[in-house]
Assembly symmetry: C2
Homo-oligomer: 535 residues x 2
């Protein structure tokens, strides 16, 4: 049941990753000197004149590829299996049908105006390519509150199972750490580690870091919050009683508390107003008939010159020949269709593995805002589906859509549950975090990405035989999915003849739209160079 | 020049505050049981029938008082000295004139649509009374990004004076603290402090908290950011080189880094779309002619029954008699007009002291967004005017208004500078944090609150002879201003006959609109009870 309960401790303990990454570092200033403006392809609009490219898949990588290739004069066609653009960038609204490969169907019944981004749901500040496209395409963005100090944590074994506010866990933890280190410094045990002067400075620093009393104790702090808020008149406020370090260790909240420090999850984050799918829809509007929907690729052949894609569209089999192919098809689906890719590529395609994450969404009265003063952010339970993710859209309105359960589904016990059982498990997490409110949840929708036709997965998990030291961390954020040290990853970076691989799986930003977009820009640069060389 | 360089360390060292606060605590669960909905006055709309109340001051406390009293059937008049509602809730836009008591005038030349909230500029999630009014009055709110991991810190003495990104200072500090504590725990020095089992659990926790390598070293982390971001293909990203603890101690950034953990400053925070003054304007619309502008109170007399306020309006002296008076006049201005308040009240009014904070705002191209991927948040320089506060309004547009310098002005060297000198000091801070961009700043405006007519201060600083242990912290947030242990504070909590004191200075939330609103609700409750008793 512990869906997103990733063993962060064990990942760090397998610390080859971190150490190895650091060893390979070059010394650099902390502020990147390079301009941080969005990467774009600058080139002569005649670069691709007379060159045909077929793009397999109309997700972010395929749309970006088509958008940029067209600007360079290439003739493009995007073959998209679904009836909508975006691929995993999918926003669900009332009336939408959700049909899975196992025959299950659901009809979303959210009220008008409500939605859930069941694929990507946030844009980090550092994902400047995607932010750049939003700007260029006129997509209004709003802040996605990924972190709020008012959100909650819950562990059945701690505090009688009652939820704990993140501000308290966060600040009491730091307080105890500061107190313990202060004692150690005073004892002289660390005199070999630090100069005498730095010991003194550390002691002064810990006083504010904790904060600690004059005599070095952590006795709570207004940072950890109030049991009763300060107000007017006699209401001086009543600080929350600090949690002991022992209790905090029982709680084992570290993975969740530190999630906000993951590079890709750090504030400031954004989301498109009205749903993430405004991005693919904006691209699709620009591209018009370049994108062919309901076009399921059934065969891919490299030819002496160029490529041939066979596909079915409205019951008809069609073929499309082009000089080059950009494929963003999930590799494990490419595996299933006849193709004549070369052996090294076939090896990756055969051996790779995809995760199947899920999201479970509910519409509800905004009890978390109206009754509990919580506005956005992620909450975590230690036993059960997690996290609970509160909406950043339409704050202060009456109702909203929250998510309860976002984690691995494929191959887990959750996967074997009936839909009603899944929903009750999801509701139970909300009830743990917000006692009495589980019953307010209505209109659930379950998206198991491994069951979504023509995608059948959330993101790549490995590029070949399992590498024990890989870091496939949700908590670490950036390095979600993939084991990039695998030789299979390297293989995909070069085209197989006329076939270029695009998509987040050809990047270090697996599961992020930014990775998808950058992979396409990279492939276009390679293609431009090749054409320039052949010219 | 160190305007907001508050000595957090020394405040904590004077730790009577924290210790004393804690000693007085009662044991309580961490989740408040009480409903967190906005407080409102519920009462019969005939409660105040036939009762006249004169309200001195049309800031938030006066407006809230009038709004709520009217709903209870009282007959109210608000006498406001300025030509606008809001008092310190003041938003400056292009065309606005800023005239100071020293004869200085400025004309704001911001482009249309730009503004700066020169008074309150953020609404914490926990200020449920103000959020409740925004909801009730239909004021649209948006997220105020008070914390961004991409914002910067700068100290001339560190890193060659080059700015440091907050994500790095924050995460490298925690890494070193974890490494040192890990060493101390391994040494056995802390075995008396923790059980053997908890020592083991602490060691495991510190691995993720740091994060630390398997052998307990902090060698950097993706949390601290990248010198080169990870991307597609071969771009695996280059981690920033960690700052040493020695360098971090030199930097002395703690006060600034921990500001985001101040209870009142914690995410999620909000701001009204288009300017904070939409709050007073919404109240004023509701109140209509109840609010009399340009009405400068010149005398306040308690009578045998009721009160008499004398005021000038458009050159005419007028008087208004009422059964009760609610006064929100700054006490040090009330000091200057004839009044017959009782001795204990006169004593507070004579002995209290007000701070005079300032803000300096500029319009500019959004170089911080467009060139540096920074979206909102506060930045700090150690030597010079600080903080630099980036706008949360209208992200991704071309130009915006930032603030450079928000701190004590009255009685500081800044106060004695000419306006151009002030502006150059302000520009210099931006140049330190964003080298090369200081020159992009245009159209500066300086607001020194001690110079604003009819206010002449930012917030109360003390209620009487200085109390050495007071916590007047910006960094601590909640307890800005005031020394509430002072007997003078207690005096103001009860009416002087028919005169009730309202305003943030009658609360523990000095300098916050929430304190002002709560003080008025409290006074109304007292008045209701009195009237019910007399009936």
């Amino acid at each position: 049941m512990a869906l997103t309960r990733r063993t962060f401790l064990s990942r760090i303990a397998q610390a080859g990753g971190l150490g190895a990454a650091y060893v390979s570092m070059r010394a650099l200033g902390v502020i990147p000197a390079a301009s941080l403006e969005a990467e774009t392809i600058k080139g002569d609009p005649a670069t691709g004149r007379g060159v045909k490219v077929v793009i397999l898949g109309g997700g972010i990588s395929g749309l970006v590829a088509a958008y940029e290739l067209r600007a360079l004069g290439y003739h493009c066609t995007v073959l998209e299996a679904l009836s909508r653009p975006g691929g995993r960038n999918w926003t669900i609204r009332g009336g939408d049908e959700v049909a899975f490969t196992d025959g299950t169907t659901q009809r979303c019944s959210f009220d008008a105006g409500h939605y859930q981004n069941v694929g990507p749901a946030r844009l980090p500040s550092n994902h400047r390519t995607m932010l750049g496209y939003c700007r260029k395409l006129g997509i209004p963005l709003e802040v996605e509150v990924n972190t709020s100090r008012s959100t909650r944590l819950q562990n059945d074994a701690v505090n009688g199972g009652k939820p704990i506010v993140q501000r308290q866990a966060m600040n009491d933890t730091r307080g105890h750490v500061a107190e313990l280190l202060e004692k150690a410094l005073r004892s002289g045990e660390l005199d070999q580690e630090l100069s005498k002067e730095d010991v003194e400075r550390m002691l002064a620093f810990l006083k504010s870091y904790g904060p600690l009393t004059k005599d070095g104790r952590y006795v709570g702090s207004e940072r950890a919050g109030y049991a009763t808020d300060p107000g007017a008149g006699e209401d001086d406020g009543l600080l929350s009683k600090p949690l002991s370090m022992h209790t905090l260790l029982d709680g084992h909240f570290w993975n969740d508390l530190l999630a906000e420090e993951s590079y890709a999850w750090q504030a400031t984050m954004f989301q498109p107003v009205g749903g993430m799918d405004s991005i693919p829809h904006a691209f699709a509007r620009e591209l018009g008939k370049t994108v062919q929907y309901n076009s399921v690729v059934t065969r891919l052949e490299k030819m002496d010159h160029g490529v041939r894609a066979t596909y079915t569209q409205k019951g008809h089999e069609k073929t499309l020949e082009a000089d080059y192919c950009f494929t963003s098809m999930p590799l494990h689906l490419l595996r299933k269709i006849p193709n004549n890719l070369s052996a090294p590529y076939k090896k990756v395609i055969d051996e790779c593995d995809y995760d199947g994450y899920c999201k479970i969404a509910w519409e509800s009265r905004r009890f978390w805002e109206q009754d509990e003063n919580i506005y956005g952010g992620l909450e975590y339970v230690e036993e059960g589906l997690s996290p609970v993710w509160l909406p950043s859209a339409d704050f202060f309105t009456d109702r909203g859509v929250l998510l309860s359960g976002y984690g691995a589904a494929k191959g887990t016990p959750l996967d074997r549950m009936s839909l009603p059982e899944k929903f009750e498990a999801s509701r139970a997490s909300v009830e743990k975090l917000h006692p009495g409110h589980g019953k307010e949840l209505e209109k659930p929708v379950y998206i198991g990405w491994h069951l979504v036709p023509h995608l059948e997965g959330s993101w790549i998990n490995s590029y070949g035989p399992h590498q024990p030291q890989r870091e496939d961390s949700d908590a670490v954020g950036t390095r979600r999915g993939g084991d990039h040290a695998n030789a299979g990853y390297r293989t995909l970076l070069q085209p197989d003849g006329s076939v270029y691989f695009i998509g987040d799986y050809v990047s270090y930003l697996v599961g992020w739209q930014e990775g998808a977009a950058l992979s396409s820009l990279r492939a276009i640069r390679m293609l431009n160079e090749r054409i320039a060389k052949n010219a």
